[in-house]
Subunit: 220 residues, 2 copies
Amino acid sequence: MKIAVLGTGMVGNALGTKLVELGHEVTMGSRRANNEKALQWAKPLGARARSATFADATTFGEIVFNCTGGAHSMEALETVGPEPLRGKILIDVSNPLQQADDGSMIMAFCNTDSLGERIQKAFPSTRVVKGLNTVNCEVMVNPSLVPGDHNLFICGNDAPAKKEVIDHLSAWFGWKPENIIDLGDITAARGTEMMMPLWMRLFQGVIGHPHFNYHIIRGR
Amino acid sequence: MKIAVLGTGMVGNALGTKLVELGHEVTMGSRRANNEKALQWAKPLGARARSATFADATTFGEIVFNCTGGAHSMEALETVGPEPLRGKILIDVSNPLQQADDGSMIMAFCNTDSLGERIQKAFPSTRVVKGLNTVNCEVMVNPSLVPGDHNLFICGNDAPAKKEVIDHLSAWFGWKPENIIDLGDITAARGTEMMMPLWMRLFQGVIGHPHFNYHIIRGR
């Protein structure tokens, strides 16, 4: 499959590398086609890994992962415009985190809005599915780093798109479909993005590494 | 033990009833001493259950549960003032939820602030411990409603107070101490309060009942 991975950070790297290893053709998008980090990412991976602008990468991809910094994703996607995204599934992996004046990480926006909603609103002809944003990028592509059953949350307005994403996450990365919880429409992205402050406390203050996840246990 | 439970809603009812059943003396606090809901709660429980104003209930309690509606907790606690709360542990169970214009439930404040922090700031001589606010009130007092291991999150600035709260939650309600995760200082309340939007989606849209909880699974 031809896949666009927008963003050159840890998340884009982990997803892009795994997808190339699986045999897909992956173009990493960034502001400039000759972005040094994207070129460095592509080099050891061979001909299936390429670097391009956000717009050209998106045009190339049959499916698009948004892994840009969440507080600046809208600016990145504006450089793409609606046409390259029309009709495509965009999996929004990003969280709109920003550094507060005191150095702590806070959400750039939340509660009555979310990045998933902003993207869907700005690109109504794109099939936005929010997902993967509640786990570390190494866990995204290798859920067995966390033992046993644990959950992913997805949401979006397009039910067939969500079904397709669940199939991909299962086939590509090994997530069990029954462990992927569909929260409903894209406004549920508020809930999953707002898990970040707890996630960061668990990561930094309690567990000390990012290989953990939530398992929703149901009672009677 | 003499315990104050502030608030006459579902949460105050569930905690108050369980604590009376355990043999404690519980005074339920509300705006007026003769609050109808508090009187109805107390009536079948016998002499150990009483009703009083927020201030009188707090004066009575050796430990205080804040179960008032989170968006209005500060107003309730202002009617108490600092003296009845001085040196006491206050377990803040509330989430600052309010109804948005479109009917959905949102946080009254979050991200750069939390109810736990507001209470600690307004009552610096009180030992505020945020906790129990991530589970339904029936699960709070009976964690076995959800099978196996699952977690509570607590936070606060006073380490001995958190230790004492862990002991109480274990002895009174049956929470295993190893399943109670200390997230650090009171600013971590942002993280646990911000889990409410996900919790509500799981409750209303996915699971359909409130007897579920998060289990944090740690990998390597």
